[in-house]
Amino acid sequence: MNKATHNPLYPLKESPSQTAGPYVHIGLTPNFSGIAGVYNQDLGIAMVNDKTKGERITLEGRVFDGSGTPLSDVLVEIWQADADGLHNSPAEPRGTADPAFTGWARCAADAQTGHFRFETIKPGPVPFPDGRMQAPHINIWIVARGINLGLNTRIYFEDEAEANAADPVLGSFEHRDRKATLLAKGGNGKYSHDIHLQGPLETVFFDI
């Protein structure tokens, strides 16, 4: 046992992460990777249908490495609340979310350009533990070759300036200028958001 960190009250420790590697598509998006016929369709390719409540948006972006090169082998998952701020999850204690909205999606980046793209809705507000309201946001989780532990960050919306100004997470940054790294640009239902793993524009990543 690791003497430095082992807590005798809790006998087990989380399985240590290992990189998703270059072939993550085989496991998580086999149809995308060319392995047809094992699953009917890849999981998480659609979050909305024609009954989903809320403002439809598209969200597109890329993930860049420290040399400014887009990752063409990255896989991202997003998780968010519905239009009323409820999550489609058994762990949601406040009520039943819109059954026509999954809240979760998965996208393998385009193998040539590195673009990810989601069709979703603008999420409703979700409270912070102290009761303050958070600005609309989408949680995003990023895995790829070279990423040893999946990276957690959030996407906020540039056109929600008032809500963003009151957001407890955005307001907690020691370096205020880093807020901008989490703001998706655009409006009228179309947003773009690039993520930078390193460099002067490095995105804020969270220890959630």
Binding site: Y10, E14, S89, T102, Q134, E202
Partner: protein
């Protein structure tokens, strides 16, 4: 689906000395793909303590059998037939039921069915390399496959991956989302692998090594390896919740 995790659940912080560091020059791909700035921490909100759930109805009958799920009728994948079984538990030792596990791996020769894999070992026409299942009420899971082969990869001058199976796990919360790799007891390549060695603590590496379970192995059929997946545990505030815990 039963799940009464309360609003006040908070997940134990990830032990960043137990997980691999983001930047490890021994694994060259990590050099330009590792954030350099400190992570920002904040208390779990419902955006982190909730997560997607997947019904058993998404699972096809052969999804948990990689020896058959890509094979032509009457055929099966080439290689050492194995069953991997274990439980999904949290750090408190409680079962994590009804969560999706996804698996992917190379074939018995160490070759992936992927356009970026140019290793000279042949593809197996009856092996795709992906599988999935959902944990039972007691957190248990199992899948059948063939033991994957080790393979060389471009990193150092002569680096080889030990035989391994990639495992992706959802928990009850997005904060528990995890991908890891399972290795095989006794493989001399484990301690030589730069990806394994991104983990600093030998005790942590040991937890990723599946054990041969002869008693669970099916005679004249397959060997069984046992591998438990541990997800982050959570605490909840007394009085705001049920006294008997959750």
């Amino acid at each position: 689906m039963k799940n009464s995790r309360p609003q006040t659940a908070h997940y134990f912080p990830r032990d960043r000395s137990w997980h691999p560091k983001a930047y490890d020059p021994g694994y060259k791909s990590s050099v330009l793909r590792s954030p350099q700035r400190p992570l920002v921490a904040f208390p779990n909100t419902l955006s982190e303590t909730t997560g997607p759930a997947f019904g058993h109805n998404i699972i096809g009958t052969l999804d948990n059998d990689m020896t058959l799920n890509f094979a032509q009728p009457g055929m099966s994948a080439i290689g050492e037939r194995i069953v991997v079984q274990g439980r999904v538990l949290d750090e408190r030792g409680q079962p994590v039921p009804n969560v999706l596990l996804e698996f992917w791996q190379a074939n018995a020769g160490g070759r992936y069915r992927h356009k970026k894999d140019g290793y000279l070992a042949p593809l197996d026409p009856n092996f795709g390399g992906c599988g999935r299942t959902i944990s039972g009420d007691d957190g248990s899971y199992a899948f059948r496959t063939i033991r994957p082969g080790p393979y060389p990869w471009p990193n150092g001058p002569n680096d080889w991956r030990p035989a391994h199976i990639h495992i992706s796990v959802f928990g009850q919360a997005f904060a528990q989302r995890l991908i890891t790799q399972m290795y095989f007891e006794g493989d001399p390549l484990i301690s030589r692998c730069p990806i394994v060695r991104t983990i600093n603590d030998p005790a942590a590496i040991e937890t990723l090594v599946a054990r041969l379970d002869m008693d669970a192995s099916a005679p004249m059929d397959s060997l069984t390896y046992r591998f438990d997946v541990i997800l982050r545990g959570s605490r909840s505030t007394l009085f705001e919740n049920r006294l008997e815990g959750n």
